[in-house]
Amino acid sequence: MFGALAGTWHGGLPSGRRERARAGAGAGQIWPALLLLVVSIPAIGLAALGAGAGTDHVAVVAPPWYGPAQTLALVDRAGGRFVDVGRYGNVVVATVGEGDRRMFLDALSREGAWLTLDAGSLAGCTGR
């Protein structure tokens, strides 16, 4: 199917159309790529950084109006232990220790956490 479509679209592209495409190869044609970029970066970020069953330290992101006390209380209610504070009051790093990590993540979500990220992965490709 691809071959046939490719034959239609690729091999037989009229020269006039090709010329127009070449002439308009500037700003207009870049938008789809930029849109894909804008969509794909957060998607990759979330997919790659999201905490999973193997996550030891979880960066818990609570709603923005939460203060440190409320965030810590949320972690506590979920059965976790505080490890470190984050940049903002609604972010803390927590762990469940030897407990069930999957259940911990579910509990965090239940208690009102917006995001649970793998704190280890947040070191990025720098390998910190």
């Binding site: 691809f2 479509l5 679209w9 592209l13 190869a25 789809p32 970029l37 997919a47 720098t126 390998g127």
Partner: protein, 963 residues
Amino acid sequence: MIEIERLRVRFGYLLLALLWLHLPVALIVANAVGRDMVAPALIVALLAGAYTLSWLLYGVQPVTRYVSAVALMGMPSLFVFLLAGHGWQMDLHMYFFASLALMIGWCDWRPILMAATAVALHHLALNVAFPAAVFPAGQDLSRVWLHAGIVAFQTVILVWICEMLVGGFNRVQAMSEEIMLSNETLEHKVEERTREAQAANAAKGLFLANMSHEIRTPMNAILGFTHLALRGDLPPKQFEYLTKIRQASTALLALINDILDFSKIEAGKLVLEKSCFDIREEVDTAIGIAMLKATEKGIDLRVSFAPNVPDMVVGDALRLNQIVLNLVGNAVKFTERGEVQIAIRRLPDPTPSKAVLEIAVRDTGVGMDAEQQANLFRSFAQADSSTTRKFGGTGLGLAITKQLVELMGGSIGVQSAPGLGSVFTVSLQLEEGSAARPAKAFALPPDMQGLRVLIVDDNPGAREILAAIFAGWSLQAELAASAPEALAALEAAAEQGSPFDLMLVDWKMPSVSGVDLVRELEHNPKLTRPPVALMVSAYAREDAMTAAQDVGIAAFLVKPIDGGMLLDTIVDLFRAKEGKALPADPPATGNQDAVPMVSAGVRGARVLLVEDNEINSEVAFEILTDAGLMVELAGNGRIACEMVLQAGRQYQAVLMDVQMPEMDGLEATRRIRQSLSSAQLPIIAMTAHAYERERRACIEAGMDDHIAKPVDPERLIATLDRWIGERLAGGAATGEVAAPAVAARPARAPELPDALPPFDIATALVRVNGKRSLLMKLIVSFGEKYADVVAQLGDQIAREDVDEARRLAHSLKGVAGSLELRHVAEAARQLEDALTHRETDSFQIRLSKLDQAMLPALAAARSLTPGSGTQAPPAGPAPDAAEAADRPVLGEPALELVTTLVTQLERRNLGARRTFEQLERVVGADMPALAPLRAALTRLDFNAALIVAHQLGDATKTEETQS
């Protein structure tokens, strides 16, 4: 599609496959590191799907290239973060560099930059933005900057390479376009050159046709007058000179024909005819021609046909004849002693109707080395090209032969060695003819089936051929290789009581010749009944024939032996012997200068000769009248139409020139054909055009046959004989035909002074073979026809009718030249040149010069005109005093006709003949007084006819006055 686009399309396919390949890999990796597999799979599908959609919608346009850059850079990013904390995470960075490098496949620097940007944004987002949002401490970005530096460096390098690549492609494209343009230009040039070449070829063809016409016209005069001259009683020297002129002219004509043939074949204009013919007859005809030379050189010429050769084949007999004649002629030419053998056999062919014949001509001549053989079939090349070569020729013969053979779907080859002779082998594709060979050639009469035949010849080949001929008649001949052997065989047969009836004996044999053998037989007591002796020899020499006749040899046949001729001879001999018929004289050698005559039934037939050239007209007139025909003349097509259509179909045939002023022969024929069909009046083209298309044009115009100039008298007469004979046989004969034309010949020649300046009478007489009457007629005719030529030319020039004037000047030049009026001819030539080149300034000067030259000529011509006072020779068979006394008195109607006749004769109007016929009907055709008038009119001697007509009229008036 240009090359770079092709490359991009292929790269588009590669990326499509590559991006979707990440899906299973991502699943495997996610599973391996214990991560959720759905999200990575969805992200891969998003990236690959976005590219696929763009690729489907926009092909390989920049939009797809940009999308591909983002999609491809997303993949390593995904894998790097999926493997976070894994030992391979850092190693996977190499995949970023590899993917970035892959972008060069688009041959476009912009997707490379887009990819680099995507890499940077991925790292900024995932290494800086996300961690910074979570952790209060700043990130260690030194490694990020290192990576960024490497990516930037790689990007610059890639952009540079990409630009070079694109530049290279552009240059290749430019060169390709240049080559294409150059090719197109070249194609146009080739087309143009082809057109020019075709035009040049057409011009060459036209030139050849014109040259052919121009050459053949004087050739006609040369051959025609030579033919006429050779008929008379000539002193030996003159006879020899004329014979040599004829030989040279014939050779020249053959050369012209060769050149024309060659050019026709080269131009692809030669069309082979397809007719059923007897192959043996054709080959024998060709060999018969070569035999003359072979006999002169003492070369034996032998021909043998294999039994599988069909009797009748379908093909072009003329061209086959030409091929055989060329090969045999060459063989004879290059052979000093020995023999030339021609062997014809049929080669096997899967198609039964096809007859593939092989003709092998073997000679014992000088032979050729390999180099000479290689050049043999090239045009204008001869085996010996040195200026001191022994053998002449144009070198066209074998080239033409080769082309003809190839046209017939065959091939030609040669085997030869210096001093050992040559063998030329030709294969030809013909078709087997359906018509059976005439039975006469095969069947011996039943009463001769029991003949006992002895063949005596020292040459085994000759014996074999003769034996094969007899075997074909179911006669088993016995063979003897020498005279003693033959004598022994004859004696033995006589003793056994079964003597031989016929002996074929060769003339030249070792020790005892054929003549001596026959002489000895006469005196041999043992032979009570010697056989009928028939001598066979390759030497058609007078002494051999005389010797044969002296010893009582019954017949003399010249090799190569034609089976039919041999059969006829044998039948004649034995019938004569039995007292049934026919003398047994040896066949006399034909006198080629004998006057060709039409057959008895055709004599007296009336033929209209339409010819504008006076010389040609005179030649044809002489030949035709000598052949027993009554000839009337027309100077162009218009006159011919008038004469034919007004004459009420009184002609039995028309001989029509093609190129004539006023109305050409083709148009005239078309007009005549509107009233008279071919069955009613055959029209035969007689033209110097030798091209096939000219012949076709004549036939298409309605003519029935075509005779090429120079006219071969025998062929001309034979053609007329056939056409008129057919017509008469078809019941169209008229009473006029019975009148023998020969009776109309003048009894005595008119007088012409020995000197008549400015005419060079002596030289002019040579031109007309000493016929004083003819010359006188021509001079008188010149005086009348060209009396006002200068005024006519002046008028034409004044009317700016230069072409007509040029034609008239040309005609005058020709006639003056023939009559040895050199000043007039020269002046006419100069005027013609001036007219041809449109030198208007010199017209009057030339005309004045011509006028000066013409004056004495016209005066001299007028002096010959009867009644001029200066000289009044009896230009025709003027009646003497006794005849005058017996001259009858004519009645009123007859007198009126005589008056009309006089007027017509004065105007040289050919209608005079019809008036005369009416006169004959009125007074009776048997009136003696009309005989001289009839004779004068028959030969178109208007001057003589005028005298007689005047005398007729005057006698009646005198009588009336006296009474």
